[in-house]
Symmetry: C2
Subunit: 403 residues, 2 copies
């Protein structure tokens, strides 16, 4: 990509994000819905100015979701998250098991081979924590108890999803599985989050004191960002996802006395990168592969709609697995509905391994798309008008007035 093409892509991304985001808000919808639709307009199905598969655009969008999860982490109270931990874990487990089983059954009903059905099931498991968190924050409800359950469950979900991913990649690659291998994968995945929080919480105050003593220009800004990048890179190294590392970094720094200052300092940078992620998610959608007027695409369109139905019903049911009393379980279930990049990664691996054909891949993509687009619309109807927060993080999206 040349510099000029890069600039044109960035211009298209920000114009789409701002115009459609603003339009969505004026229609009473969360801005993120507008950004996703804006992405469709400038992406593969529309103008074709933004190529979601370009390496640079992809990396910048990854930086966006990473900074989003870092901000979400910064706004999350670990104590509060732990208090709903039991509910979060049970919602996560049921929310993985139900759609997994449902997807496998659906695949077998269609007469697909078992391994293909397993891939379809797996692609239904992981909640997109990025999209869920952004919707809750857009609506001003990130601090609700239900949102804390959703956030915790989505993270656990993502980790379970990564475990399944590791296992299926091994199987798809022709490797063999041992119970020990699976146990190790599970331990590493959850161990990383725990270790990051424990060691991080122990290190963070000293790091902040060091930065203050060094007295470097904009030290806290760069210190915080480097901490998030480092934990994200470490998460990948260990077989987890970068967003998990960034979220852990945010959780850790939220417990220091610099939390609000860090939020303020990282704010502008994050709000440059975050819209890139959501526009790129929209830009990746290729509507042509699901043209209902042609017979082959129509078949996969129907499979996609079936997967969507299973995905929505299974996650909404999972919401009722929340243990704690007084929680609005339907809200939790609906908030768990959006599938994101993890679902697509599953489908991608299945495609590469020759287990899924292009049609099934598009069906999974349709499911990811519909669950993502449905959630903001449904949650908007279920939640009262959000309160404006004084924080400088993601919640800023709900503020209508220009700063």
């Amino acid at each position: 990509m040349s510099v000029a093409q890069f600039l044109v892509a960035l211009i298209a991304i920000f114009l789409a994000a701002k115009l459609f985001g603003e339009l969505a808000e004026r229609l009473g919808q969360p801005a993120v819905l507008g950004e996703l639709i804006g992405g469709i307009v400038v992406g593969a199905s529309g103008l074709g100015v933004v190529d979601a598969h370009d390496p640079t655009i992809h990396l910048l969008s990854e930086l966006g979701v990473l900074l989003l999860l870092f901000l979400i982490g910064l706004e999350t109270d670990l104590q509060k998250l732990m208090a709903v931990g039991g509910s979060a874990v049970s919602v996560a487990i049921v929310g993985v098991a139900l759609p997994f089983v449902g997807g496998i059954a659906f695949g077998q009903l269609l007469g697909l081979p078992t391994l293909v059905a397993v891939f379809l099931g797996a692609s239904l498991t992981a909640t997109s924590v990025g999209i869920t968190a952004r919707v809750l924050s857009d609506l001003g409800h990130l601090q609700d108890d239900e949102s804390q359950v959703v956030l915790g469950a989505a993270v656990v979900d993502d980790v379970i999803g990564l475990v399944i991913l590791t296992i299926l990649s091994t199987v798809a690659g022709g490797g063999s599985l041992s119970a020990l291998g699976i146990a190790k994968t599970v331990l590493v995945a959850f161990g990383f989050v725990l270790a990051a929080i424990v060691i991080g919480s122990w290190l963070a105050p000293s790091l902040i004191r060091l930065i203050e003593r060094l007295d470097v220009a904009r030290g806290l800004f760069f210190g915080a960002i480097l901490f998030a990048f480092a934990l994200a890179a470490l998460a990948v190294q260990i077989g987890s996802a970068p967003i998990i590392g960034a979220f852990a970094a945010g959780l850790v720094l939220a417990r220091t006395n610099k939390r609000e200052q860090i939020e303020r300092e990282v704010h502008d940078l994050a709000h440059f990168f975050i819209p890139i992620f959501f526009v790129v998610v929209g830009a990746a959608v290729d509507l042509r592969s699901l043209n209902p007027l042609e017979s082959e695409p129509r078949r996969y369109l129907l499979i996609g709609l079936g997967l969507t139905a299973i995905g929505v019903v299974a996650k909404v049911l999972a919401g009722f697995a929340a243990l704690r009393r007084g929680l609005k379980r339907l809200r939790i279930g609906v908030a768990m509905v959006p599938r994101g990049e993890v679902g697509l990664i599953f489908a991608q691996i299945g495609l590469t391994a020759g287990l899924l054909n292009a049609g099934l891949y598009s069906a999974v993509a349709l499911m990811v798309m519909l669950t993502t687009f449905l959630t903001p619309i449904l949650l908007r109807r279920m939640l009262p008008k959000g309160r404006k927060t004084e924080l400088h993080g993601v919640s800023d999206y709900v503020v209508d007035a220009p700063e």
Copy 2:
């Protein structure tokens, strides 16, 4: 590049920029010198963590120099720049002619073919406006009359450099030149800057009023950035350089009533991207190709030192072409010394066309490097300690205390 590699590269870039930038300042040198040295440490000649030729890293560094020139434009008073316009143009013309002729003569002295000598001469012409402006701003002298001459001359220089580049690319590609073609190239190059400023100044206030009426969240931030990106992309489209468009965008917005607010809003984003550019310039340096202990590299090392001497002397002499009375001409000349990416682009085209061999390419790279490293050190000795400015743009680099 995977997400993990990308994160590691970013971590290395910011660590190098902050550590060496701070070290340079403590030693009384401008931070940019530290960032360049930090780049060598993490780049091709050092740890090899930052690959300056990776497409994504390259595009991010381009965004950095673009935002730097946008900020410089925002801090530049067009009236003041016009007032020293005559001096700027004469410094620029002499500053292109002298090193060009000197380089050709040097090449012929070495017995090189004429076209090769012309390429060497051309690579000596263009001043790096990015490095020059950053050094002056680091030292707190961006608003001096001499600095305004340098800024104006460096921009004119860059435009002339692009004209020469267009002509030489045609010749190297085996095309033929007409006087009409050359005249057209010159007109387009200078016409763009003029048109951008005239049309931009006429459009900007309406644009700002439109943004205010639309009342979009962070509208001014995205409006200003999109304006800079759009002019930069337009500049490329028209055969000029993106930094010229970004500088023009800054000049135009500096004349609106929102100048200070724009500076404040763009500040954080710019200071994320700007260090990437300078670290990447350092990271691109490959010291091994100039090993004085081996005979072939030694020959090119000597040629590089010769080119450096011609480049320094010619630009310092050009400073004395400043017309206006009372200007410190030696300062102007020294500030014009750094060559940057344009010099390397010349060398790159010569290399691709088979006119320069790898040794001569390295010699040009050495000249670029030495002129870049010499300038901050020399200027630091010639300029009194700079004043701290209240602006939120590039001048922030001189502020020692953390914000």
